[in-house]
Symmetry: C2
């Protein structure tokens, strides 16, 4: 039971006290070491363009570089920094690189980073109001701010029965509302009707919906992913939805949940909220709007119309951690009726009871999410909104959309390529045109082009498939991306396409 | 579409470029502002004992202090710091205060904090191996390290079919394994048998299990929380479990999941893993071990025996963010069969397909958790293990247990109090003895004592109820807690008890 150190060992962060105990927290040591970490991270951003955007390591690379057990004795921060540089960073895919155009962005910003620091510094666990009233109240306030900025309907504000709650991800957002909708319907039709419940969305909806259905016990064959195609730019057709609902009702099934998407993952398609919402309402269904990516654009008045019809929604979600400068994770969910979520997700064990909760004077966010514990995530969103201000945030979005437009023009000017779907926000879907005798309509060609481009390390793009066509996705949205990065990325694509076409 | 600034506005973190775009990330500004945040946080720790531990604000306090919408124009970091000091901190309950003894601890440490900083700095989203191979591989490696430190069975190591995965919380850990167990059983007995599935645990199990059952669609009446009492120190009796299972089988139900707890939330009771695990196995049930709190103690050889029998488990969970110096959130889950989780939680949309995943060469952690996105949380656990080393971490745990023993002695010496259950780890359950003519066995008295003590702001304790008795919980585990804090806390309790008894 003897402790190791019997004198100050500053380099290892431990101090022995007079009473023999060791402590791992000390304000002066925190200051000293955290300043070093700040410099390390600032240097990372200074050099970020020197790394291959997509990590080029092979599976299993790291286990060959690290010991197979934890050390008995402390190591120094210098050793850690050396290992991060030589062993960790080669295995990092640099989402913050200005040359990152894959998937959707995951924004880091100075404000978001400062908020994360403060949240980690306070390290509170805000499951109930009492465990840090500021965490609950600031979250309600900043989600009200954001709701107003998005011009969401008043019932999504925290003053009444509804309000906002920060989830980790859009997957958790759709899961909690699906569960609330499920249980609400089962309370009406009887708890043994689970097998009859049916969910609707387009075939472009995020895979998170299917996962939520699996989790919530919805029968896989009752998860209707309705077909879309290029005639509607991959938006869900109200007519197709109506038919599907009518058919299901006719065979004794129970429609209960509709998920519309504003800005689908594959091509940023926009489902028409107003007619879809009216159909959902007239059939007594929960209407959820997933605007995980494109919600950020709707802070600009000229893009707000894409969520017209949100006033029909029971819940609305956008990811501030995607394209709104708030470090991951921060997925904002608004709900019309907090109580519907609480009925599915609340537990009230004795050890958490307290006066404010028992008196129903407060919101306890544990009842509106899957986990019990939660971090103080509203700090970073608050800092983003305050340190940047609405007008700069709007400029930020507009600039990315402008850069995407510029990229679109470059692609359109090269007749070897085609734009596959009309660009709406900051994503361009395009592909290299196949030769006329291509057997697979150019899919192998574009797959090959993507691999070649990404393996240069100069840029990172991802792909999708639409109507059977393999398509390249160019998503502008990293905070450091400027026009020169976009034109350089296009140059890489052009050069690799030329080389590829020559080699055929 | 005009952007606001047309010159460098350093104080608001924005720079205008030659191309007209604004950028919210800049290495030099990050450095400057993050250094200020380091100093702010270090000063917070320097002054942490000056705050009331439990926030003393009234519900709604913050909305009266903040504007009701986000600012149009940027504000300064100085304004933010002022608001944090004057408006946010009064609403914070200081989990890192050395005088925090409520619930279970939520450890912040210098190493954990540095890891959080780096994770927020890189801000990658590690859903698939390819999106940052280092994030997946470091997680596998450090969870192997921790598994070895806990002497977990070899099948929990990442070399074979099993392995570790970091979840946000123990709630998510029990949920994902419950879903895997549910679906595994339904694949055997038929997908329409959901209503017949039965879950077992003691009535001391964490409320997260009940929540997981609600989410997974297990019928509430099939969630058996078996009675415990003081004769077994609130541990689950194998005999009681056997009887319950036999009864359920006899009436046609299907037992499928047993959750045992090592260190229950109310009183750190320890369920006997070995006999419980054998019962689960002989009935074809999934056996999950929840050691969220007490798992940390098991890194010390002298406490390891509390998880003897873990070799019968299908899954094992401990929260490194509770008592293992890793900032929230970091809940370590080990599973015997990764594939069982993936069968319930995997989705494979086109836009996430990549060579390494399709070739089955890698683990994609998205398939072992509820959300898609995930932070690079292994960094902080790696830093904790390396910067402190195994021996210091063991000393850290032992010191807290020693402090709890000292508190226990103080309570036992005051004949007005009683120790309610034998102390096992660093939690002491005690209460003020009621007078003989007390109608409610002293529950009101102890409730009152707790309120009085917490409203001094000098300490924060929480409570539970065991066998109908209202009990005070004194959980030692904050990183800054020393002997002087424990004796001072006892002094507050003694003084308030004296005043309370005088007032009767």
């Amino acid at each position: 039971m003897l402790c190791l150190s019997d004198h100050f060992v500053l380099s290892v962060l431990w101090i022995e006290h007079r009473d023999g105990g060791l402590r791992p927290m000390d304000a002066d040591q925190l200051r000293e070491h955290a300043h070093k970490m700040v410099d390390f991270i600032a240097d990372y951003y200074k050099n970020i363009e020197n790394f291959p955007v997509l990590s080029q390591v092979e599976p299993g690379y790291l286990s060959r570089m690290l010991p197979d057990s934890a050390p008995n004795h402390p190591e120094s921060l210098e050793d850690i920094f050396n290992d991060i540089s030589s062993k960790i960073l080669p295995g990092v895919t640099h989402w913050q690189s200005p040359n990152y155009f894959a998937y959707f962005p995951s924004n880091s910003s100075i404000a978001g980073f400062l908020g994360e620091m403060l949240s980690a510094g306070l390290n509170i666990v805000g499951f109930s109001w009492i465990t840090s009233p500021a965490a609950t109240e600031l979250e309600m306030i900043v989600l009200d701010w954001l709701a107003k900025l998005l011009k969401l309907p008043g019932y999504f504000l925290s003053g009444g029965q509804g309000g906002g709650v920060i989830q980790g991800t859009a997957s958790e957002a759709v899961l909690v509302v699906l569960l609330a909708a499920r249980d609400k319907m089962l309370r009406t039709v009887g708890k043994n009707a689970l097998e009859k419940l049916v969910v609707y969305a387009s075939d472009q909806t995020h895979s998170a919906l299917q996962k939520a259905c699996q989790i919530g016990g919805i029968q896989p064959e009752n998860c209707r992913l309705l077909e879309t195609d290029s005639t509607s730019n991959y938006a869900l057709s109200p007519g197709v939805l109506c038919e599907a609902i009518a058919h299901d009702i006719a065979i004794g099934l129970i429609p209960f949940f509709l998920c519309a998407t504003v800005g689908t993952t594959s091509s940023t398609a926009v489902d028409p909220l107003l007619p879809l919402g009216k159909i959902a309402k007239s059939n007594g269904m929960w209407f959820h709007v997933d605007a995980a990516y494109a919600g950020s654009a709707c802070v600009c008045p000229e893009y707000r119309h894409y969520i017209d019809g949100v006033e029909e929604a029971d819940s609305f979600n956008m990811n501030a951690h995607k394209w709104f400068l708030t470090n991951f994770d921060c997925s904002a969910l608004w709900i019309k009726d907090r109580n519907a979520l609480a009925q599915s997700l609340s537990t009230n064990p004795e050890f958490l009871k307290n006066k404010a909760s028992q008196a129903n004077m407060v919101v306890d966010y544990k009842d509106l999410q899957i986990p019990l514990g939660r971090r103080f995530r509203s700090l970073k969103l608050w800092m983003v909104l305050r340190l940047y201000g609405i007008e700069n945030l709007q400029c930020y979005i507009r600039n990315h959309i402008k850069l995407a437009q510029q990229f679109e023009v470059l692609v359109a000017q090269d007749l070897r390529f085609e734009i596959v779907t009309p660009r709406i926000f900051s994503l361009v879907c395009f592909r290299l045109l196949p030769s006329q005798n291509s057997k697979d309509h150019g899919n192998e060609l574009n797959h090959h082009l993507l691999d070649t481009v990404n393996s240069t390390g100069k840029v990172f793009l991802s792909h999708t498939v639409l109507s059977g066509k393999y398509i390249l996705r160019f998503a502008v949205g990293a905070p450091l991306t400027e026009e020169r990065h976009v034109t350089a990325a296009w140059k890489v694509l052009e050069d690799e396409a030329s080389a590829l076409l020559r080699s055929l």
